[in-house]
């Protein structure tokens, strides 16, 4: 596959390491009430859709950026690639 890196353009998937569902960005607050349940859900409850999926890829043999790749897992069509740090900041990462 080719992943269209937002800074570097198309790069071969061999340069990347796959992690999984991009919902891993939404880490709960470990100090808040109900953290045990929240972390259980965060870590173990995943949607497993056919079709579009947002997932985390790490450009390990490149610029070391974590990317959020929106990919159709049936066709492997890549619809969108974002820098994970941009997404995390726009979601209002913790102060």
């Amino acid at each position: 596959m080719l992943i269209n890196h937002p800074l570097l353009g198309p790069r071969d998937a061999q340069e990347f390491t796959y992690l999984g569902d991009a919902s891993l960005l939404n880490r709960p607050d470990g100090m808040a009430g109900g953290a045990a349940q929240a972390f259980h859900d965060y870590l173990y409850l995943r949607d497993n859709p056919t079709g579009e999926h947002r997932e985390l890829w790490y450009h390990e043999q490149g610029d070391r950026s974590w990317l959020i790749v929106t990919r159709n897992v049936s066709t492997h069509e890549i619809l969108k690639v974002e820098l994970a740090s941009d997404v995390a900041l726009s979601q209002g990462a913790k102060p």
């Binding site: 800074l7 570097l8 071969d12 061999q14 340069e15 390990e60 043999q61 490149g62 610029d63 070391r64 950026s65 820098l83 740090s85």
Partner: protein
């Protein structure tokens, strides 16, 4: 005061740089480079970049590589660069940059984190296309790209398209990368000869 003085050796355990030639392609180890990594701190990207750009006399945007008189630098990641200088003159390059950039950047000595190899010749692309997955037609002079060569993470810099490249790998990988470079240069040279035969 200690009586002992420590001497330096190359990644191959030698005093002199490793070199090899096949056909008209030459490989040369570059132990004479001092290297420092520079990462801009939050909000300091433009300050750091313009300082480095002044040092190398050229722009250092994404994927750029610039060679100035005394310093050269290339982009390694978002808000991150490697700066190079002569090791004899600038062995403490990282410390000097820390003084220059103060708290605008995080700076780390990489003199011996990476080892550089120059590849020079009239048709280096025939070698490079056997080593790494870079689209060489767009990899013009002044471009830098990190990629993987024979499972070794490398930076590839283009000094002159088709004719002069510099490849860096982690110093501990030097022997393996050298094997990949040397066998590929030999192989590509032999194949080129076959084609003209």
């Amino acid at each position: 005061m200690s009586e002992i003085r420590l001497t330096q050796i190359t990644a191959f355990g030698r005093v002199e740089a490793q070199t090899a030639s096949f056909g008209d392609v030459t490989l040369t180890e570059r132990p004479d480079l001092a290297i420092a990594s520079v990462a801009a701190r939050h909000g300091q990207e433009s300050t750091v970049r313009s300082t480095l750009e002044q040092m190398v006399g050229g722009a250092l945007e994404v994927s750029s590589f610039r060679e100035g008189n005394r310093f050269s630098a290339f982009w390694t990641g978002p808000s991150q660069w490697f700066v190079m200088a002569d090791h004899d003159d600038y062995e403490t390059l990282a410390a000097s940059l820390k003084e220059t950039l103060s708290r605008a950047a995080s700076i780390t000595e990489q003199n011996d984190g990476w080892v550089g190899f120059d590849m020079d010749g009239t048709d280096c692309d025939a070698v490079l296309e056997r080593l790494c997955n870079i689209d060489l037609s767009g990899f013009t002079s002044g471009r830098a790209q990190r990629t993987v060569i024979e499972h070794v993470s490398c930076f590839v810099l283009c000094r002159k398209q088709g004719c002069a490249y510099r490849i860096f790998c982690g110093r501990s990988y030097a022997l393996s990368l050298w094997h990949a470079l040397a066998t590929t240069v030999a192989s590509a040279t032999a194949v080129a000869k076959l084609a003209t035969h």
